[in-house]
């Protein structure tokens, strides 16, 4: 308990991390309120196309090429982009933590096989692999999440494996072994909770990179056409980048803020977990 309290205090002392947290909460609020503030379908063509921000009070952020309300798009987009970020990260964590835990805990042949597979995935350029996967499976929310998860898990696997390798030999684990705990119980109740810190830090960054990845895929025309993510708006606005730069720049800025928020929070968590690094 006191540990958690000290952790929170350390985190709160870090102004950058706090700022990140505030930004993050603001974005989460945007996503949560999208349906309340903008009950209509963000795809509805409601306004004159290519209204500039501020030109029409009813649509404060203007409209896109098809006359869709950009403000509504940004709010609904927050929901979709965050959902992409979180689900892809969750899926990558699931694969990565499982592989890393098994490799680190059992070592030997299991470790060898799993690490060779990880190596295989790390040898192929991740973005190209993501493109190939999305193209093959045809772009949809599910396939995009799958592709992002499949290219993101090896990093987690290596991290978790390293943690498990160092934690395995520790006293409390040995104590668990002596008490006759099963492998699953040892992994889940003894080692994993102690490895959680670095996992959370890297997960917060993975959410950010997943959102960026989705936007890059959408830029290349490989987004889900039925979901309005920030990437989708950028992909559509890209055609009018010069005449109406705000169409791509607004969701671009939203992505920037989100990635910034996650990075700051991630860094704050990291510093709070390793206090030694900050105050040398």
């Amino acid at each position: 308990m006191t540990g958690a309290l000290a952790f929170c205090r350390r985190f709160a002392r870090n102004r950058a991390a706090l700022a990140g947290l505030v930004l993050l909460l603001a974005i989460l609020l945007m996503a949560a309120l999208a349906g309340v503030l903008f009950p209509d379908d963000p795809w509805d063509m409601v306004a004159q196309p290519l209204l500039w921000p501020g030109q029409d009070g009813e649509y404060p952020l203007g409209s896109d090429l098809m006359g869709r309300d950009l403000m509504s798009g940004l709010f609904h987009g927050a929901r979709v982009s965050l959902a992409f970020g979180f689900t892809a990260t969750a899926a990558a964590l699931l694969i990565g933590v499982t592989a890393g835990a098994l490799a680190g805990y059992y070592g030997g042949l299991v470790d060898d096989v799993l690490m060779r597979i990880t190596e295989l995935f790390q040898t192929v350029p991740p973005f190209i692999l993501a493109i190939v996967l999305v193209v093959i499976l045809t772009p949809s929310a599910l396939t995009i999440v799958t592709a992002i998860a499949l290219v993101s898990w090896p990093g987690v696997a290596r991290l978790v494996r390293a943690e498990f390798l160092s934690l395995r030999g520790r006293e409390f684990v040995q104590a668990g072994v002596v008490l006759g705990m099963g492998d699953a119980r040892l992994i889940l109740t003894q080692i994993l909770p102690n490895a959680l810190g670095p996992i959370i830090v890297s997960a917060s960054l993975m959410v950010a990179t997943s959102i960026l990845l989705e936007a890059s895929l959408a830029f290349l025309g490989l987004g889900d056409p039925n979901l309005m993510s920030w990437g989708t708006i950028i992909g559509a606005g890209r055609d009018a980048l010069r005449s109406a730069w705000y169409v791509a720049a607004l969701p671009g800025a939203a992505i920037l803020v989100t990635v910034l928020a996650f990075s700051l929070v991630g860094e704050g968590l990291n510093d709070a977990l390793n206090p030694r690094l900050r105050n040398r």
């Binding site: 790390q122 192929v124 190939v132 960026l212 830029f219 980048l241």
Partner: protein
């Protein structure tokens, strides 16, 4: 991390060239596994190269399509195509690109230098600038400069690559007219010698900066963290106790050791960079391998895509060998593993 993993078993008297050969030999099964996995993966994709060519033509007849399929060997069963492919691969033959009507190896070798130039340039810039900024930041921990550096670096990291790229084009190519919008050289200029180098450098400037800015943040933050880590080590405290100046400590003792995680990162990033260049190559019409890969996927140019993925793995594995060699150089205590 990669570097540490391969340095697990120490062997005292192992010559460097043997080490490289051993590593290369160990990679061959990895290459084959990559080739087979990719082949199966790509065969799952709907549509094939004949569909693309016939489709692009806008009109076709059944005979035309059948002729294309038999020409590309697509009328064979999948296992036969795979066996054929692996057989050719073992003879170091990457095959023929139907979409480009050219040998795959020739095509890749033609495009690889452009990507390597961009990649090495961007990584080099990000590495050097990142290291410098990281050292600066670590010397002023939590000060104004530290905060400024991390905010600026993070901003670049968080901005989608294509926005940075297109922004640069609009400012420097269209409005100011200082730099060309894209491409590798001035087309048709056929410059030679220094003039050629300058020409390429002008074309390289924007894509390189775009790509480097993204990676800059990672290196700056990593360098800062590892500098702080090393500053806490006993031998630094000892050095400090001996009365050495902070500047001297930084350069002599800290920098060299703090470089190690940076080098590891460099090795890890080669693959990411090869892929990340797809977007930059698209925006700047840079005739590199990333763009070629994207087009190969989109036109189901199986041989070409497989070839590119394979060559990318070669580059990644070679980069990792270099990283391990750099490790041994940075820290003589580390010996190269078998």
């Amino acid at each position: 991390m990669r570097g540490f993993a391969s340095i697990s078993a120490l062997s005292r008297h192992f010559p460097r060239s043997h080490y490289v050969l051993a590593r290369v030999a160990k990679s061959i099964p990895v290459f084959l596994a990559i080739a087979v996995c990719n082949f199966i993966l790509l065969k799952l994709a709907p549509g094939d190269a004949a569909d693309v060519l016939a489709g692009e033509a806008g009109s076709a007849t059944p005979e035309y399509l059948a002729a294309l399929k038999s020409q590309f060997g697509l009328d064979q069963p999948t296992w036969a195509q795979l066996a054929h492919y692996v057989g050719r691969l073992l003879r170091l033959d990457l095959g023929w690109s139907f979409r480009n009507n050219q040998g795959v190896l020739a095509l890749i070798l033609e495009r690889l230098p452009a990507t390597l130039l961009l990649m090495i340039g961007a990584l080099g810039l990000a590495f050097i600038l990142g290291a410098a900024l990281g050292v600066l930041a670590s010397r002023h921990v939590n000060g104004a400069l530290d905060n400024l550096i991390s905010v600026v670096a993070l901003l670049f990291y968080a901005t989608p690559l294509f926005l940075v790229g297109l922004g640069l084009i609009i400012v420097f190519a269209v409005h100011l007219g200082w730099l060309p919008t894209g491409g590798l050289t001035t087309v048709g200029a056929s410059y030679t010698g220094l003039r050629f180098a300058v020409d390429v450098a002008l074309h390289l400037a924007m894509p390189l900066v775009t790509l480097a800015l993204f990676f800059l943040a990672l290196y700056a933050r990593l360098m800062r963290a590892s500098m702080l880590e090393v500053f806490n080590q006993d031998y630094v405290t000892t050095a400090r106790a001996k009365g050495l100046s902070e500047g001297r400590i930084t350069v002599r003792h800290v920098l060299r050791n703090a470089m190690m995680p940076m080098v590891t990162m460099l090795g890890l990033q080669v693959g990411t960079l090869l892929g990340g260049s797809v977007v930059v190559e698209t925006v700047f019409a840079w005739p590199g391998i990333g763009r070629l890969a994207f087009e190969a996927v989109m036109s189901r140019d199986l041989n070409l895509l497989l070839g590119i993925l394979l060559i990318c793995s070669v580059v990644v594995i070679m980069a990792n060998i270099l990283v391990d060699l750099a490790y041994a150089w940075l820290d003589p205590r580390i010996e190269l593993a078998r």
